[in-house]
């Protein structure tokens, strides 16, 4: 099982993502200007400030050469996990529904939050119990999940909302406390919290590891 983690100019969580992936499988770095995915089984689009977040977060990265491959890979059923800026990139690329807007507070938020695992098991949550709570950090200014009401209703009905902030924990004003969604086919996952920063006791929680372990298990199956 081999993960590929993309590095865009301005990515800053790519090395933590690589190290999280390496706890559950192999992992290689993919460069934004590359034109192939090096035969990986799953792609992680990491957090950071790709291309300086110019225009809108993720708007420029979405057109990086490697993203053509990622879009093709995802459309063919390949697993893609977009974390924070990676979530924004996946939304801009049309791989996931919705968009991320500036936090209601307009402030950068950086804190540990409790998130709940919802819905039926997915490739990204398969090793977790429904309703399980994870303690994972968030750190962002543009994390307010938005989708039109009709889209939200469809996402809820189809079980595509797989991660929500626990009551009282919503750090950014996301609609319906949404912290993470999957696409209709269930092979693309985007989330604002950073599971790659919660894989070692040193930083207080190892809860993030379960998402990488679930993905490794799904990709190996």
């Amino acid at each position: 099982m081999k993960f590929g983690v993309i590095s865009f100019p301005g990515s800053c969580d790519d090395s933590d993502a690589l190290s999280a992936c390496r706890r559950v499988g192999e992992a290689v770095q993919l460069w934004h200007a590359d034109h192939d995915l090096a035969g990986v089984d799953a792609v992680v689009v990491p957090g950071g400030f790709s291309y300086g977040d110019y225009l809108r977060a993720g708007a420029i990265a979405r057109f990086a050469p490697i993203m053509n491959e990622v879009i093709e890979f995802a459309r063919a059923g390949g697993y893609v996990m977009g974390i924070c800026n990676g979530f924004q990139v996946c939304c801009e690329a049309g791989l996931l529904p919705g968009a991320l807007l500036t936090n209601v507070s307009r402030r950068f938020v950086f804190r540990q939050v409790r998130v709940r695992v919802l819905g039926e098991p997915t490739a990204f949550t398969g090793t977790l119990e429904r309703g399980a709570e994870l303690s994972i950090p968030v750190k962002h200014t543009t994390g307010r999940y938005f989708a039109p009401r009709a889209t939200l209703a469809r996402l809820h009905a189809a079980g595509q909302v797989v991660l929500s902030y626990a009551p009282g924990e919503n750090p950014n004003g996301s609609l319906d406390d949404i912290a993470g969604v999957v696409n209709e086919a269930g092979n693309v996952f985007g989330l604002m919290p950073h599971p790659e920063h919660a894989v070692d006791e040193l930083t207080g929680s190892t809860d993030g590891l379960s998402l990488f372990a679930s993905l490794a298990a799904a990709a190996a199956a």
Partner: protein, 77 residues
Amino acid sequence: MKARVLVRPKAGILDPQGAAVERALPALGFEGVRDVRVGRLIELEVADPARLEEMCERLLANPLIEDYEVLLEGAGG
């Protein structure tokens, strides 16, 4: 041709930046201001203005969350 593209948050979407400006104005004595929305102005020189619409749809705006308006120089804009 010179063009300007105005990009605004869609109606109904909370605009915290606009809300902050709206709260700040009365503090300076500017009363009676409502519905402040903060958007973005993009100025550009284009060879083929007919392609501006596509540029807006694909990059300059995110049509899910933003409305845009194209103003061409000399066209009353």
